[in-house]
Symmetry: C2
DNA sequence: ATTGACATCCAAAACGTTTTGGATTACAAT
DNA sequence: ATTGTAATCCAAAACGTTTTGGATGTCAAT
């Protein structure tokens, strides 16, 4: 039913070739013919069939993004902002965004394979890298363009954007030390994630600077959710010698920790310090506002997409590995 | 470079037709030939070129979802959950999800038009409907399948899923009334959204049942963000006769209102009641936990996608308009 | 009158599939 | 020997584009 280039050809009495060339501004079609064809195309409401165009041009103008969802009640404010970043940038450059949702696991890689082999996307945005990341290994192997948010173990030779988690955590821990805290606990995200190792290393190194160590019972592990932050903080608080400060590996778990503190009738920022990492929008308006390390998620989304588009277009990349320096955001959750 | 059906044909000495038919399980190819072709295809690592397949089949197996982003610091936990719902369902049925981000406005409709005319998607998920929704008018006009989350004015004859906002708000207001509140303020989302009108009507009707009205200075308007909830609540609290309860039109604004209360040194749930709407995951772990009206966002995402897929496949729909009954979630933000 | 240059046009191939409408063969029934 | 039937195969068209490699015509210079 929709009007094709063939319809225009018939209507104008010109050939398919000429119509195509007229609409694309080639110089070998006379001004009058072009004007006429353009007018008719407009009148008939022509829009090119992108599938046909892409099949012929052998590129998809589509970027892939596979969202790692953890369980049905998946809600990570982190991702909506990141998605806005890639979505907006892709749109500006005329790229589509193909989104899949997949929990990490075997099937995850299957989805990548399917999109790559089915030639559905020109490249991928890979997010939340793991130390040995099969996705990155695969994409490198099949030589499909991608840009990662985060590094893997060994910092191989592939493009990524990351924030320096070690430095970020060190700033945070030093801040807590400067406030007099000696008993600092840490709730870590699963260590398969590279950023989790970095952040943990930051904690350890900063403590070491003050001749302290991270005691075994002051180290807990959560799964990035608020719920797990709450559970782990409860455990920490019921130690015989509870910490005076709890750092969570991300803001969501920090919120959970705040709840745990408040459930015990303690006041966050007075009785105990809580800090997070990421600086999601809600951190600012939490009660009390959360001290955290800022990560410009939207901007990172934009940068990554910019880089990816340059790569798929074959344009040179000035820097293919970007490590952003973090910024400490001091709010009230660690006291004044 | 990638292996095509033609390569297999050459390698097996069979025709393109036979290869295609063998791989699709047609009955007019001998078992031996089929086995041979399948084996070779496997060996050569064949995967069909989806673009070519779709061009030929004249359908895209792709669903469109245009995410209304408001500003760069866009973060709506609501959407990540909803996205998980549609993403998972689409994936299960073998559909791809094409996501665009676009702030509402003229360009928004342009994106719909482009996807429809470019034959990029089989149908759309439309979210956050407005009273006179140009997207719905357009999609109806061009007869493109879609399912909306939310209604428009007049409840026209199109498929949607919605929660009964009037009933939800009535439950909430009645709850507050039963706790003795007589001075209830309401922070409404922009009234262009249909759900905002419904929720407001719910507030008004429930107050009317108790022979109360919503005083003009107890009605504020926010833009769904936490920040605006905070600002509006501050305004309400500095009235000469401040309300004893503040209802926000969504949870995010309720969180903002909680911050405003706490900034004044008041205690949410004791000195003043705060309630929201949506029951996003964070509502449960907020401090204090937020009384709100539950909306099964993930499930709604799944239902909508289910319906949409049925429609694009031409299967019959048992009910094309679903209105879910809400559930009041009583937590501590309105006192015991 | 040729030649060359230029402007304008187009047929056909190509992208990788699926489907249509037979063609061929073998074998049994007449 | 012909006919019918079933099994197996395939050439060609189609989906809607873009691109290649000319074809044609005009006009000025020789």
């Amino acid at each position: 039913m929709p009007v094709t280039i063939k319809d225009i050809a018939k209507r104008t009495g010109k050939s398919i070739t000429t119509v195509s060339r007229a609409l694309h501004g080639y110089q070998d079609v006379s001004p009058e013919t072009r004007a006429m064809i353009v007018r008719v195309a407009e009148e008939m409401g022509y829009t090119p069939n992108l599938l046909a165009q892409r099949l012929q041009k052998q590129r998809t103008d589509t970027l892939g993004f596979i969202l790692p969802t953890f369980g049905p009640r998946f809600s990570d404010p982190f991702f909506s902002e990141f998605l806005a970043g890639i979505g907006n940038t892709a749109g500006e450059y005329g790229y589509d965004l193909l989104v899949s949702t997949q929990p990490p696991g075997e099937k995850e890689l299957e989805v990548y394979r399917q999109k790559v082999m089915g030639r559905q996307v020109d490249g991928f945005v890979v997010v939340r890298t793991r130390c040995q990341d099969p996705r990155i290994q695969y994409l490198r192997k099949v030589q499909t363009p991608f840009v990662a948010f985060g590094r893997t173990e060994g910092d191989l030779d592939y493009p990524f954007v990351d924030e320096d988690g070690v430095a970020g955590m060190k700033m945070l821990v030093r801040h807590l030390l400067s406030l007099g805290h000696q008993h600092i606990a840490y709730i870590s995200p699963p260590l398969e994630f590279t950023f989790a190792r970095d952040r943990m290393r930051g904690v350890r190194e900063a403590l070491a600077e003050a001749n302290l160590t991270l005691a075994e019972d002051y180290l807990a592990f959560g799964d990035l959710t608020q719920r797990s932050g709450l559970a782990q903080a409860q455990k920490l608080l019921s130690l015989s010698k509870p910490p005076t400060a709890i750092i969570a590996g991300n803001d969501l778990m920090a919120f959970g920790a705040m709840s745990a503190v408040q459930q015990r009738g303690l006041r966050v920022g007075r009785d105990i310090a809580i800090a997070g990492f990421d600086d999601i929008p809600m951190a600012e308006t939490a009660h009390p506002p959360l001290t955290t390390v800022h990560q410009p998620i939207y901007k990172i989304g934009r940068m990554i997409t910019d880089m990816l588009i340059k790569i798929v277009r074959g344009e040179p990349l000035e820097t293919q590995q970007v490590v952003l320096q973090p910024q400490l955001i001091i709010r009230q959750s660690c006291g004044e």
